[in-house]
Amino acid sequence: MTEKDVTMTVNGTERELSVEPRRLLVHAIREDLNLTGTHIGCDTGNCGACTVYKDGQAVKSCLQFAVQADGSEITTVEGMEELPEAGMGDSDLHPIQEGFKQMHGLQCGFCTPGMIMASKALLEANDDPTDEEIRVDISGNLCRCTGYQNIVKSVQYASDVLNDREPPDSPVEHEDASLETAADGGETATDGGCNCNDTDLTMDYPTGGENR
């Protein structure tokens, strides 16, 4: 198939590529530019794992051809640390990245780069969003691990840093297990945490039911 020359600025560096017209932008980013932080989760534009920041907008790079990005400026998750806001918080990272770490906004990490890029687009447009505005804005990005609650907190953390507010230390709503247990008259762990002697470890066990 005939290839077409494409020039795009990715994470501040001008890149030239020859791609088939049918090549998806996400494949050009992942496979031609070796920026594998941008992921593919669904192929139908539903999950947003492939979200990048392109010419001021969050776009799903599996729904665009690479040739459509000719002349455009793209930021992927790998470029976040190079942005001017990086280092505003407690680390060298971009405040959004730092927010995800500090607020436990990720588990398996697969949706995270897309979430970070969607969050960047949101905060560029509105650096002090409400929780509801965050939820609306990230609703094109699926996460199967976190239930979104800590992702909302992660974006709020970034918003705090960007607005010179002190972000929270932790997303945890109930921090001290020991004190609270004691306070509510909880079960006393008589044997120092393990009521080991109460268990009859020699008890007969059943089988898993009979096949017949």
Partner: protein
């Protein structure tokens, strides 16, 4: 269920001399031990885009594999013509069943001892089943080739529903087996006679049919692998999305004939598993075979539709449950009948002695004397599976059944569902408790959990609001749903639980280096649960090290000790226990070295958990840390001790652990549209001692979101011809940030008595426990109209049907008329509020 564990070689380390971490008094040593919300050590690579998932693996000369799949749900293959595909420039090979047969790889065993075609030669049995594979230089060319593989099918009548498959005239799915029906097995548990007697004597009996619909775990990363046959070293390396790399290595070796020490499975970063990445799939075998034949690396990665339509589904249990009770609400018996849809192959992923998984825990949190269950499993023209999607092997279906039935009984007896539960809870004094179906629950305090939950949500206030809304003919009905579930996690014990014959132990190896830093290698593996942090915390706790000085490695069979992998919430109960025991073995050796350094007798050296250091008995200012001992173990080792400081443990748990919870869901249902809004979700989990509260909360959030998806949105559906009608993310609906409400988590702590650190595991509790809370809430909202059940998912049309059947709907026209009538008045209110 528990086992004879006193003779276990690690029994002495299971109960630590100092009693282990005590939730009452132990606050951690401040360097990242137990109970501290340490920020995750693994996060940086993920937030900078430097994670290494399977599709990120690139090798020189790597080819791509695209699988040609059946368009039909049930059809005979008349002919496969690969000629046009082979002519495509860049296509290197096209594989069919015949090609694989030459290497004895045309079929593979399932985890339940069935045989599944890797590529089909004769008859496809479900839509999108694997028929041929195209290997090409890049993924676009591979797809071009796949489009040009010509397959002629002769379509057959399909059967996708287990209830239909059991009929005499149903199409036979498995003609390869020596049977003319679709029956797979009958399974029963409990005491049928005692249960029947209890029902005969009961004052009240309730019965409810409930269908737990077919779900897909749908991790955001699909399944895939990069297989790399190294001809020179005769070694096969497979990077794959695996929740159980060691078990997969053994299976790979058994299927391929490549000696096990020449097979290396690497499970790199895995983008979520939830049970989906436990089985072996044909794509893995095809990629490995292609790499072997072509002597070059081959990558296979699923698209989403392939993932949802062909890899393991979960649930699909059609259940009829009955409860017997006295008139004052004492439950005397439970009885259940299940028709299970296993798809085209028996490819569930459960311990092999448990064909129905742990479904027999269906007596739940209640002290019920008599129980009986019977289950029949059937083949259908649907994808194979029945795996443990974020649960321990069918406990999800069991919990749904009993938690729903208790509500149905409460309705029948006109009792408050909270009171009915309280009345029937296994009392906390009764633990360890042996259930009617033979499980030994380790510990629990269900009433405390329920009390805390009811108080936290102001249950009485909610009931008042509910009554007021009914009284005032409010447009929205309020529903309050409870779920006071008990989970069962942490399989083994090995004598009862095995996967393909391998006992379900797990392992850890700890090496403390001369400078006092430690490397921990574990047999379990993370798909996002945070093992690199929590397992480091266990070691930090037990050895007094700083968590940042402990590195956890996992997921590579060449370097990690053998383990059965991460699923069924078994990492903390089994792998975490192995890690704690290994650490205590290290500490045991360190004590001798410490005595040598402190120049006292070994018995005079005691471990002080709070400071994380050894002390001389009676002289607490004379201390030495494990860090200091580590140096001595290499540089000044005692004459009676081996140099070095390391230990390994293979841990066979004496019993499962039984985490539990008390959940409250509050819904509002619009009587005009049937739309259900989850107004509040409160989740109290008791998972015993918590290693990292931040991670526990994160696990609960994620599990609740999946439970909400289950109850409200998700279902894999088929039409009558066997076509998948919800087979990608356009139709199989995962909840987004808009469907998941702000969740309120809470906890109590009831340590596991047999676990070395008193932990139980938590990841699956919320997925298991939340669907009944939601359905109970929806039904509760309509209970005054006589509704007793609505099947999941709670879509607006289903709920509206239920409302309509109960005479609870409201015609929007009434409201509009009403508003028109009140037009002047509401205008005044607006003016007043301005």
């Amino acid at each position: 269920m528990s086992s004879d564990a006193d003779e276990s070689p690690d029994a002495e380390f299971r109960h630590d001399d100092d009693g282990g971490p005590d939730p009452e008094t132990h606050h951690g040593h401040g360097r990242g031990g137990m109970g501290e919300s340490v920020k995750r050590k693994e996060d940086r690579r993920f937030i900078t885009g430097h994670g290494n998932y399977v599709d990120d693996v690139k090798k020189d000369g790597m080819l791509h594999c695209e699988i040609v799949r059946s368009n039909y749900g049930h059809a005979r293959i008349e002919n496969i013509d690969t000629e046009r595909a082979e002519a495509v420039e860049g296509v290197v090979a096209v594989l069919t069943a015949e090609d694989l047969a030459a290497y004895d790889l045309a079929t593979m065993p399932t985890l339940m001892d069935d045989t599944q075609e890797v590529l089909v030669r004769d008859k496809v049995k479900f839509q999108s089943q694997e028929v041929a594979a195209v290997i090409a230089t890049d993924r676009y060319t591979a797809k071009d080739g796949a489009d040009k593989v010509d397959v002629n099918y002769d379509s057959l009548d399909a059967v996708t529903d287990a209830g239909e498959a059991m009929k005499d005239d149903a199409p036979v799915v498995r003609e390869d087996l020596d049977q003319d029906d679709n029956h797979i097995f009958t399974w029963e548990t409990g005491d049928e006679d005692a249960t029947k007697a209890a029902f005969d004597e009961a004052d009240a009996v309730v019965e409810e049919d409930m269908f737990y619909q077919r779900l897909h775990p749908a991790p955001i990363e699909t399944c895939g692998c990069v297989a790399d046959w190294d001809e020179d070293n005769e070694q096969m390396t497979v990077h794959m999305t695996s929740q159980a790399p060691h078990a997969h290595r053994t299976l790979f070796s058994m299927v391929s004939g490549i000696p096990e020490h020449k097979v290396r499975i690497v499970s790199p970063d895995v983008g979520g598993g939830f049970g989906n990445k436990v089985p072996i799939y044909p794509g893995y075998v095809v990629a490995a075979a292609a790499s072997y034949v072509l002597e070059t690396p081959v990558k296979w990665v699923e698209e989403r539709s392939e993932n949802v339509q062909t890899t393991s589904f979960a649930r699909d249990y059609d259940m009829t449950g009955r409860l017997a009770a006295t008139e004052d609400g004492e439950i005397t018996a439970v009885d259940v009948d299940v028709i299970a849809n296993h798809g085209a192959y028996n490819a569930a992923a459960q311990p092999s002695k448990f064909p129905a998984g742990f479904f027999k825990i269906f007596t739940g949190s209640y002290d019920i004397d008599a129980a009986y269950g019977e289950l029949d499993a059937y083949y259908t023209n649907t994808a194979p599976g029945g795996i443990a999607y974020r649960c321990s092997f069918r406990v999800t279906e069991a919990v749904y059944l009993i938690e729903r039935l208790v509500d149905v009984l409460a309705q029948e007896l006109d009792m408050d569902p909270a009171e009915l539960r309280r009345k029937n809870f296994i009392p906390k004094e009764s633990f360890p408790y042996e259930s009617a179906t033979g499980w030994t629950y380790d510990s629990g305090d269900y009433e405390r959990a329920l009390d805390k939950a009811l108080e936290s949500v102001d249950y009485d206030g909610l009931r008042e609001e509910q009554a007021e809304r009914i009284e005032s003919d409010d447009q929205k009905l309020l529903g309050i749903g409870l779920s006071t579930f008990t989970e069962i996690v942490g399989a083994g014990p090995g004598k009862q639980c095995d996967i393909a014959g391998i006992e379900m132990f797990d392992s850890a190896e700890i090496r403390v280096h001369p400078t006092g830093k430690a490397t921990v290698r574990i047999g379990v593996q993370t798909q996002g649960q945070g093992h690199e942090t929590t397992f480091a915390q266990i070691v930090a706790e037990e050895l007094g090290l700083d968590v940042q000085d402990v590195e956890v490695e996992h997921g590579d069979t060449d370097t990690e000790p053998y383990g059965l992998g991460t699923y069924a919430s078994r990492s903390t109960p089994v792998g975490g226990a192995a890690t704690a025991v290994a650490a205590r073995k290290v500490r045991d050796k360190a004590r001798n070295i410490a005595a040598n350094e402190l120049e006292v007798a070994e018995e005079d050296v005691v471990w002080d958990r709070q400071s994380g250091a050894f002390q001389v008995q009676g002289a607490p200012d004379r201390t030495i840390t494990v860090e200091e001992v580590a140096g001595a173990s290499y540089m000044n080792s005692p004459v009676d001790e081996e140099p070095g400081l390391e230990a390994v443990n293979y841990y066979d748990p004496p019993n499962m652990t039984y985490p539990f919870g008390a959940y409250v869901c509050v819904v509002e249902i619009d009587r005009e549209t049937g739309e259900t809004d989850i107004r509040q979700f409160y989740a109290l989990d008791d998972c015993g001692n918590r290693i990292n509260p931040m991670i526990v909360e994160g696990q609960v959030h994620g599990g609740l979101a999946q439970g909400i998806g289950t109850a409200m949105l998700e279902e894999v559906t088929y039409d009558e011809n066997g076509n998948v009608t919800a087979g990608d993310f356009m139709n199989y609906l995962l909840p987004t940030s808009m469907e998941i409400p702000e969740m309120d988590t809470d906890y109590t702590v009831t340590p596991s008595p047999h676990h070395p650190i008193g932990a139980k595991g938590v990841g699956e509790s919320p997925t298991v426990g939340s669907p009944p809370a939601i359905v109970n809430a929806v039904v509760d909202a309509m209970a005054h109209g006589g509704v007793t059940h609505v099947d999941m998912p709670m879509t607006a049309d289903r709920v509206w049907e239920a409302l309509d059947g109960a005479g609870l709907t409201r015609d929007p026209a009434e409201r509009i008329d009403l508003e028109l009538d009140l037009g002047g008045e509401s205008g005044d209110e607006e003016a007043a509020s301005d």
